[in-house]
Point group: C2
Chain length 125, copies 2
DNA sequence: TAACTGTACTATCATACATAGTACACCATG
DNA sequence: CATGGTGTACTATGTATGATAGTACAGTTA
């Protein structure tokens, strides 16, 4: 369910956060559905429970999940608060990366096709 | 000439490498043109000479520049060897980021427009 | 009570990046 | 030749971040 890239510059906990957000926004994890427990997921992924907890804490801060002591962590029903700040940040990152890609010689049309493909697969899956 | 983001996850030397490659590929630095010296650029950017040298070494390894002891570093006339590996890597990164953006709710059309704008400004500048 | 949840610490290790300092080889200029 | 510029190499140190290890405590559920 979670494919981690241990060599990535992006830390594990952050990869987890992003994956979770995708699953939630794509409704593969539905409202009030229970997430795997900190220890269980840690065992499953062969990483430290602290790393999982760090991801969960971040997800809770961002309003994607809520956690209850003794019970577990669950998908938050109200995630309308997907912060605009994050979107702005994302656009900046994308702009940088796209510019690099163009300078690297990747044709604009190829990038556009990539977006269209991803968009289609996202909606149609 | 070089805008460094000290807060970025991308290390300084790597930012330098990328900037240089852009300048070279965009022909803002022309064939056999001399680059700033290691110490000079270090002073100018207020960073350590070793960091500059690391960037230059990397650029030389990748075939973008060549260095001559006692003389300086220069733009390589033959940079046809723009590695495909880097392009593949770039595409993967882009794919991840675009997917995140789409899930964040940024419309595909907006991303496409972004690419087109960047592509136009790149060619027309 | 027992076994599971989340949560909160401290300590330690590993890695990558950047800096500091020194040293040497080479070239150009006076 | 002497000086000061170039690239290059090396060790040591500082720093920040990520990840792990271990322990402990609070709450829930059976």
């Amino acid at each position: 369910m979670f494919e981690l890239d241990m060599r990535s510059r992006k830390p594990i906990y952050e990869q987890l956060v992003d994956k979770m957000k995708e699953l939630i926004m794509n409704e593969l994890l539905k409202t009030d559905e229970q997430l795997p427990s900190v220890r269980q997921l840690a065992t499953e992924l062969s990483i430290n429970p602290n790393t999982i907890q760090k991801a969960y804490r971040e997800l809770e801060t961002q309003g994607f999940i809520y956690s209850v002591k003794g019970k577990g962590s669950f998908v938050n029903p109200n995630q309308k608060a997907i912060d605009k700040e994050k979107i702005v940040e994302m656009k900046k990152e994308l702009e940088k990366l796209i510019l690099e890609a163009l300078y690297l010689g990747i044709p604009a049309q190829e990038l556009i096709s990539l977006i269209q493909d991803l968009d289609a697969s996202k909606g149609g899956a």
